[in-house]
Symmetry: C2
């Protein structure tokens, strides 16, 4: 469908909106017309928030998390345990771990996982900079926290091999098992098998 | 879920994006992070396109279609047949009819249809201004082109009654090629074009 817009301003907004992921031309038009019906101040606030965010946010020079400063608040915090580094795929994963409130160490954002099918090799990821952080010293544990997928496993293994040259650095990975709240019968066989092999001493999680 | 964002700029952009219809907080975050990965110029272009569109677009003083000038290009065009007015629900419907290439007259955008359930009465729509256009003279035909829904039919009938006081003005409606229950914007151009060509004198479908 090629819409003939009577307004070049509307055409421009629709064109830019439709470049967002998951937003087709129909949806972009709907969003644009919605913005036209809203108060001018609201639409301007959206436009300015996008521009200010893009101009003001950069990536932390150490962990590659998003940051408004050269060093992100997590890397800059003296309260965080700088001897433990959690390797994650992307910025959203950092947020997920921060939301658990269980982690006090630092992060290292790879920017993806190794995926030859998508043309993503180790060189396109922040793996060399991770090794450089380990070489610098002070890191005693690297937690590999990539997704439990084929690509995540491959990337975990690649990093594990890279870090094998540092015997003083412990390399760990996330526990694989039955997700909290899940029924046994709906858990896949692979996960169930691994959770059985890697069973842990019983602790009464209710009384804690 | 309450995400703790390390960046107030990201927080601001996510808050504004999540006010768009159909965009939740998760989607807003995905869009924001996508914009962070894109070139700065792209994100700025999106923000500016939204602001410029909202600031530059107003509504035509005659037909209430969106316009960058007081009189929209359609109303201002000497090539259009000003004796025929097509009454539509919204701005998207104008685009739909323009895309058929079958209509050379003018439009009148109601801004909705009568829907007591949603608190939309005749007074919230541009019906009085339509009657005023007819009173001004020069209009020989009013085409009722609202969706083939209960609300569309009700509104068609309401306008038909209002225009009954002008015996010189022919009131027509779209041929019922439009599938009952369908909205104008989702009807294919062929059906829409044919329904326009085969428009019939208005009949009260309720009393039959």
């Amino acid at each position: 469908m090629t819409d003939e817009f009577s307004s070049t301003l509307l055409e421009g907004a629709v064109r830019e909106l439709s470049r967002l992921p998951g937003v087709g031309r129909k949806t972009a038009l709907r969003l644009a017309l919605h913005l036209l019906r809203r108060d001018e101040a609201d639409a301007v606030a959206l436009g300015e928030a996008i521009i200010e965010m893009r101009r003001g946010i950069t990536y932390c020079s150490v962990c590659h998390n998003i940051s408004e400063t050269e060093l992100c608040p997590i890397c800059a915090s003296p309260a965080r345990d700088s001897s433990t580094v959690c390797v994650v795929e992307n910025v959203r994963d950092v947020m997920s771990f921060e939301n658990t409130g269980q982690f006090t160490g630092l992060y290292h954002v790879l920017g993806g996982v190794i995926s030859p099918m998508d043309g993503v090799g180790p060189d396109s990821l922040e793996i060399d900079s991770l090794v450089a952080r380990v070489v610098e010293g002070g890191i005693r544990e690297v937690i590999l926290a990539l997704g439990a997928t084929m690509e995540g496993d491959t990337t975990n293994f690649y990093i594990f091999r890279k870090l094998a040259q540092f015997p003083d650095v412990k390399v760990t990975q996330l526990a694989r098992g039955v997700a909290v709240g899940n029924e046994i019968e709906y858990t896949d066989e692979l996960t169930l098998g691994r959770s059985l092999l890697q069973r842990t001493p019983f602790t009464d999680s209710f009384s804690r």
